[in-house]
Amino acid sequence: MSGSEVVIVGGGVTGLSAGWWLARSGVKVTVLDKFIVGWEASGRNGGGASHYQSPLFDEEQRMWPQMDELLGYPTEHQKERIIIAMTERQWEQYRFVAERHHRLGHPVEVLDVKQVKEAVPLAGDNCFGGVHYKFGGHANPQRSVQAYAWALQDLGGKIVQHSPVTGFETAGGKVTAVKTATATYGCDAVVVAAGPQIPQLMAQFGIDIPLAPARAEMIITEPAPMMPIGGVDGHKLYGRQTMRGNLAYGGGPHEWIDVDATGPKDRPSTPLMRNLASRLAELLPKAAHLNIIRSWAGVIENSPDGRPIIDRLTSPDNVVVASMSGVGFGLSPASGHAIRDLVLDGACSFANIDILKLSRFDNLESDWREKRGWMPIS
């Protein structure tokens, strides 16, 4: 299919990575975004890249250390992660996860309090211990999304911003064009990676994609002294120290919302910042005096089992749907590769991703959101 045209709906990290992988294979790629690349959850997350639960994990781990060089732009990728337990229960849970890594051959080390304090200068005596993942890592979401976008442009791909997709043209069981308010983009294949807007877009084909959007929040502090490993979290927080030194952390209760066909109406943060602050001050007590300088929220779509949906449809048969269900940033180097394979070859070349197929939801009840309590507050 080299030389053909693929239109990607959604310039988040998943769509951009898919576009970059396709462009590397010589495909002409056009990415359409409703606003600016990476403006939603792709540019607002914790930057983690240690998704050992996913079939895409090995490829994620293989790719990240190469991404700066392959893309040609800095992503701020850093290796490894330390997870600190602040309660007896967390200590039990984190050691369980460590044991599981050990069983599967992922290098981990269990740290006692003294070792935690040596490895994490901002930690204190108030912890129970920690687990050091000698794999995984984290990167800067905002810089990485732009790096994907620029890298695919460097390979001849196009980024069209401020262009929400309004519909599709079909013929002979295939999508032949993607429409925006001002233009029509002819195509041989389509990737729909439009996050929470996927259900509304796919409804045009009579296909039900079960996704529920929710809002989650993060905070960031002024720079702290640099720690040897920036990927420090735990205490039921996710986050990282940026290469500038800022502590960027999230976690805690989410709010289920509804999203328009045009995207989230707004993504406000709330006083949850205070609860994030108390947890982060407990996790890193030697940073408790640092100023919080911003907070923000993002909208994440979730599938019923919390796992991504990456699938090529049977009708129209030239459409690949990709929703990462809240774990998209870290997995992006691998999800893009999988999407590229589905578009060009019809199957993923490097992992069995059957678990990510849409058909697992064939028998899902139509009121699954209500039954889970995943509905907006009325």
């Binding site: 890298a151 001050a281 774990v327 699954w368």
Partner: protein
Amino acid sequence: MELNFTGTDICAVNGTRSAPEAHYGLVVVGAGPSGVAAAIEAAKAGTKVLLVDENPVSGALMGNDVPLYFGGRMTAATQNSERMLEAIFMSMPELETAMEAGVELLLGTTAWGVYRNGPGVASLPEQVVGLADAERSWLIGFDHITLATGARDLAMAFPGWNQPGVMGAAALQMLLTRYDAFAGHRILVLGSHDLAIETAIMAHARGVEVAGLVEVRDAPQASAELQAKLAETGIAIHCNTAITSAKGGMDGVEAATLSNGQEVACDTICVAIGLIPSIELVDAMHGGRSLNATRGGYVPLGEATVSAVGDCAGLADTGFDHVAYRMEWMQALTTISADDTIICQCEEVTRADLIGVQPPNYLSRPDPMCARSLDTLLQDGPANPDQIKRLTRAGMGVCQGRRCRDQVAMLLALESGKPFGSIPLASHRAPVRPLPMKIMADWNEPEAMSAAWDVWFGIPTQWVPVEDLGTQYEEDHRQMLYTGMYE
């Protein structure tokens, strides 16, 4: 696992939030003349009123040019919070009047965020304002909030501006009048509109030597009356002139060099080119605002339960186009200064890196990165300061963009050849003042929130490793990491 079931999502925020500590009919933020007047009026009408003011702010905040552009020119007296409190009461007798009228007054108390239900959030028990003092933070519910947050200084970059002694006119006026704590002796004033001349006259009257005023336009901009008053002092205005650099030593500014070649000895350069209505709270709560060039910038539109008074609602409209005036200054300073002039002091972003859309120095700049610039970015869409911030870090520092956000927007307008009003306003985000984590922290978290807390969404199937599905370990994972979403 079975996908069809009936359960409750205990990790959702529903019903888990802290309730506000108290509720007022009216909360007024800012105890300047307009705020005090609004508070007294409401209290006299029988409303339960809380009036808060962040002053005196801590010395640490002043050192970061928060909330005003103090430029490090405050005396050690500002470190003494008791003396500062006394100074505020001495300078503002109407505060006593307010308290006598029944207004509850909290000084040294910052309003760092206003929150209400609306698009994207429906979980707040009521509309609240977040407050903090030197000890802790808390929430207050309200029926109505009046923002009397005043106006902040517009900073302007020139070589040497990033040293002690370069400050704003609002900060200087506050140090001179409210605190009697200005550490400078001889000032040069940039600008010649009303703000500049009023500041020069005030400084002169309080015994500060004024070395002159500098004006880029060919004539003084202030009202004839103010010009006449200034003339009585003998202070000169250098027209058709900009500042080319500030020289300094260990204590900061020692002299300024002007574009007419003159060198002016001074220990303080007061940037009095303009004030910006302080709409941080309105913008952070996603309230309506619009650009009004004759009222100093973006001003709140006003809503049923949110209003703005005083300079926060816009500077007095004299017909003067503040935006055009600032843009002329920016154009002049950009033309005569080198590209390596720092624009964002916190993150040390130069104008070249800003316009080059380049990352900070601690990141590598491979060839493709070097080939990128604002020009290439503009091919993808119009300039957006929040995008520039992500890529260059300009505005990401501890001063929360107070010193550079307006300059970044002006530079983007100049470089993209678009009117200032076409450049989106860079987002303001809570907390609208830098606040220490331990102060912001909710140390009395409701049990319901602690129980709901999960690192992510609490969907147990999300975290079972794919290798373990269908094995004995699947149930182990659910038992161990399960937060309670599924029954």
